[in-house]
Amino acid sequence: MEIWRITWFTVACAAAATALILPPGVVLAWLLARRKFPGRVLIETFVSLPLVMPPVATGLILLMLLSRRGTLGGVLERLGIEVVFTWKAVVLAMAIMGLPLLVRTARAGFEQVNARYERVAATLGASPARIFLTISLPLAWPSVLAGAVLAFARALGEFGATIMVAGSIPGATRTLSVAIYGYAETGQDAMALELLLVSVAIALAALWTANRLVERSAA
C-alpha cells in the first residue's frame, strides 16, 4: 500500500540521517562545550545556520553544491555517485536540518557535566578520548539522547530542503510531508488525511519513547 511505503521510506531515511550525524555531531558538541580552538565560532555558526535559514534556501544551497555542475556534485559524478533526486538526497537534507538540534542539545548536556570529573580523570591517566567515552558521554547521555530524538523528529517532518534537493518522485524520494502536500494540492484529501494521521501517530510514539528513555537514564 502506498501509505505504508511512504511511511516506511520516511522513517528509514530519518533513522539513517540520525545515525549519520550522531557520531560527528556528538563529538562536535563535546568539542564546542570543552575546547577552545581556532574556527570555533565559525563552525558553530555554520552548524546552526539551517536552524534560522528558510529550509528551502538550505535545500537550494545543497542542490547547487551537489548538482552535476556543482562543486561537490562534479567530484561525486566522477566517482559514479549520484545524490540529487535520489533517496541519498533525502537523507542528506534530513541530516543537515537535524544536525543543529542534535549539536545544540548535546552541547548543553556536556556543559552541564562538572569539569572536575574530566580533570580528575585526566590526572588518573585517562586520555582525552577515554575521558570522552567513559566520563563525559555517560554523564551527558540524557541530553545526547534528547538531541538525537529531536533531530529524528525534525527529519521526519522535513519538507523544504527535501523538495528542493530530492524532489517528489513517487516511490523514490517522496516522504510523508512532501506526499501530504502533494495529495492536498491535487485534491486527494482522503489520502492526505490518512498520511496526516500516520504522522501524528509517529510523532506521539517518538515523543513517548524519548521521554521513557530519558526518564530511565536519569533514574
Binding site: 572536575r116 570529573y117 580533570r119 585526566a122 590526572t123 588518573l124 591517566g125 585517562a126 567513559t134 566520563i135
Partner: protein, 215 residues
C-alpha cells in the same frame, strides 16, 4: 623531591612560586585566595604557567624553556580535589579501578585494607558518607600508581570528629606507601600532625618554608 619555579597568571592574580621540596608530606599553608590550589593545579597539569619549570623526582613535567608541557594524563600525579569528585555514574569499585595501569598500580587489596574501605566496594558513591567519600577518592588516586599525591584541603569538607578519624589514614599513606604528599591546608593543627615541611603562601607568593619539629 619536587622542584618548582613557576609564574601562573590568573586574571589579575599572579602567583610566583619558587621552592624545592624534599619531604614526605608538605603542606601549602595560608589564607584562602593565597594561590595554594593554583600551585596544585599547575603541578597536576590542569593549569599552564606563564613560564617556569616543574620537576618531580628529576622528571620534568613542565619547562617553558625546553618547550616541555606534559598533559595531565602523562604526569603520574594523583590529585584529590576539594570536593573529591567521585564519578557519580560508577560504583566504588569502578571508581577505584578507573586509573589502574597494569604493572604500575598499587594492589587493590592493599589499598582497600589500608584505607578500610573493603566493605564499600559494591556501594554506589552517592550512598557514601563524607569520610567514606574522602577515603575512596584517596584510594582512587593511589590506585593509579602516582609518583606524587596532591590533596586539596583533604579535611576541610568533613567535621572535626571525622577529621580525627581521617588523619590516621593520611599518615598511613605517607608512611606505608612512601608516596610523597603535597596538600593544601589552612588549619594549623592539621599541618602539625601530617606535614614535615610547611610552605607558607600568601597573596600569590611563597613567604617562607619551615621544617616542622618532631615529625
Amino acid at each position: 623531591m619536587i622542584d618548582l619555579d613557576i609564574e601562573v597568571a590568573q586574571g589579575s592574580f599572579l602567583l610566583i612560586a619558587k621552592v624545592r621540596l624534599d619531604a614526605r608530606a608538605a603542606a601549602l599553608f595560608g589564607p584562602s585566595g593565597a594561590g595554594k590550589t593554583t600551585i596544585l593545579d599547575a603541578i597536576a597539569g590542569l593549569r599552564t604557567p606563564r613560564r617556569g619549570s616543574i620537576a618531580v623526582n628529576g622528571r620534568v613535567l613542565y619547562a617553558s624553556d625546553g618547550g616541555v608541557n606534559l598533559p595531565p594524563h602523562h604526569r603520574h600525579v594523583g590529585y584529590v580535589p576539594q570536593d573529591v569528585a567521585l564519578f557519580p555514574h560508577m560504583g566504588v569499585r569502578a571508581n577505584l579501578l578507573y586509573g589502574r595501569h597494569p604493572g604500575v598500580s598499587a594492589d587493590l587489596d592493599r589499598v582497600v585494607r589500608m584505607l578500610e574501605i573493603d566493605g564499600l566496594l559494591d556501594r554506589r558513591v552517592t550512598d557514601l558518607s563524607g569520610g567514606e567519600r574522602q577515603r575512596v577518592a584517596l584510594g582512587r588516586a593511589l590506585m593509579s600508581g602516582p609518583s606524587l599525591l596532591l590533596l586539596d584541603e583533604p579535611l576541610a569538607a568533613v567535621d572535626v570528629p571525622l577529621r580525627r578519624r581521617i588523619l590516621p589514614y593520611l599518615q598511613r599513606v605517607r608512611d606505608e606507601l612512601t608516596v610523597p604528599i603535597v596538600y593544601v591546608s589552612h588549619d594549623r593543627e592539621e599541618v602539625d600532625e601530617l606535614a614535615d615541611v610547611v610552605v607558607n603562601v600568601d597573596a600569590g607568593r611563597v613567604v617562607s618554608v619551615d621544617q616542622v619539629r618532631g615529625s
